[in-house]
């Protein structure tokens, strides 16, 4: 990750436009709310521009977006780089014939689906979501696309929560994020309780991490 000195000046505005909501959807989780970014027209424009600048001219023909917040960022990127947009959806939403990929949750499993025929073998694809946490959904999306012979060039997210090790879970698939979990203005680092770590299925016990940066 580039140092703050090398960071694109647009990024700090983007990060400060993201709202943190404590204890959603459950206690201990600091939810990254991108809806406030969508209310800041310049910061939203900059977000899309940063992705478009990276992927334009790279022969990407597919932008796959994960339901539902991936549907907000994916289509503007797809339109700007001349690619198709492919929604990757929860079960039973897509009307046509689908292929599905299951993935693990804390308790049980979920599924992500894509229309048969939406993509062709050999196409080059991005996968977009607003945020990467554990990487479970992104991994399922990668598997789904690779099963039909698509080359996933990169996963792209606005935000990463590094403590949840999603980047490692992606393995050799590159991940590009605009912002790590360090919040700009007051440098608040996310507190993850042992409870939270247990709830995402991590078996390792990590000490309570709390760090306030200047």
């Amino acid at each position: 990750m580039s140092s703050p000195d090398e960071q694109d000046p647009r990024i700090s505005k983007i990060s400060s436009a993201i709202r943190v909501i404590p204890n959603f959807p459950k206690p201990g989780i600091m939810f990254q709310d991108i809806t406030t970014l969508l209310l800041d027209t310049k910061a939203f424009r900059d977000t899309i521009d940063l992705f478009v600048e990276r992927y334009r001219g790279k022969d990407i023909s597919v932008v796959a977006g994960i339901e539902a917040r991936g549907f907000i960022f994916g289509p503007p990127i797809a339109l700007a780089i001349g690619a198709k947009f492919v929604p990757m959806r929860k079960p039973n939403k897509l009307p046509g014939e689908v292929i599905s990929e299951e993935y693990s949750l804390e308790y049980g499993t979920d599924k992500i689906e894509m229309h048969v025929g939406a993509v062709q073998a050999g196409e080059r694809s991005l996968i977009i979501d607003d945020l990467i946490a554990t990487g479970g959904t992104l991994c399922a999306a990668i598997r789904l696309l690779e099963r039909v012979g698509v080359h996933v060039v990169e996963c792209a997210c606005v935000i990463e929560l590094p403590e949840l090790k999603g980047r490692e879970r992606l393995g050799d698939k590159p991940l590009f994020v605009l912002w790590p979990s360090l919040k700009g203005l007051f440098g608040l680092h996310y507190c993850f309780t042992i409870d939270l770590i247990a709830t995402i299925g991590e078996k390792t016990r990590q000490p309570l991490r709390q760090q306030v940066l200047k």
Binding site: I21, T41, A78, L79, K84, F85
Partner: protein, 191 residues
């Protein structure tokens, strides 16, 4: 009101958009001819035409908010918002938005559902376009209009790619203008 009757008669882009939409019979249940816009999203030119038509219409109407109905409204709304310099506000199913919300219930065939918006997303007086992929009975769009009006926003128009026969001939929904690009496609030999 359909785009073809409102300045875009004969515009070849409308035909391209219509041709790119796929009909899936009997989804989600028997008798329903589902209008599938995912094939429109695969046709870069036709998808761009869709956005361009809405942008051309709303660019000079002093619109500050595009409100998109979950989830297919999210596929069209943000691109329009970005092009006209407006905010994008997602209108979501219950319990998806993390902050404080206001909710509006609406009727389904059996039972009710609910649409939610973040408190503070839209200040009073702002001019809003509500967008969704398709309008059928208008139940969801009506709930969206009520939600926005409750916070004092001014809904200028509702915009949809496809308008089903239930709204044909209706120029307004809840007193708000309705702007639709195309009629539903039919399948040859359909019953």
């Amino acid at each position: 009101m359909f785009a073809a009757e409102n300045g875009l008669k004969g515009d070849p882009r409308l035909q391209a958009i219509s041709d790119a939409i796929r009909v899936v019979p009997h989804f989600p249940k028997q008798g329903i001819m589902f209008q599938d816009i995912t094939t429109l999203l695969l046709d870069h030119k036709a998808f761009k035409h869709t956005i361009d038509i809405f942008v051309d219409r709303y660019r000079d109407m002093d619109i500050s908010v595009i409100a998109g109905v979950e989830a297919r409204g999210f596929m069209f709304g943000p691109s329009i918002a970005l092009a006209i310099g407006a905010k994008f506000v997602p209108l979501r199913k219950p319990k998806k938005l993390p902050g404080e919300v206001i909710s509006e219930a609406y009727e389904l065939e059996y039972g009710t559902d609910c649409l939610e918006m973040h408190v503070g997303a839209v200040p009073a007086g702002e001019r809003v376009i509500v967008i969704d992929d398709l309008v059928a009975t208008g139940g969801t769009l009506s709930a969206a209009i009520r939600l926005l009006e409750r916070v004092g926003a001014q809904v200028v128009e509702c915009a949809c790619v496809i308008g089903l026969p239930e709204v044909k001939g209706q120029r307004r929904l809840n007193g708000k203008p309705l702007y639709i690009l195309v009629e539903p496609r039919e399948i040859d030999g359909c019953c």
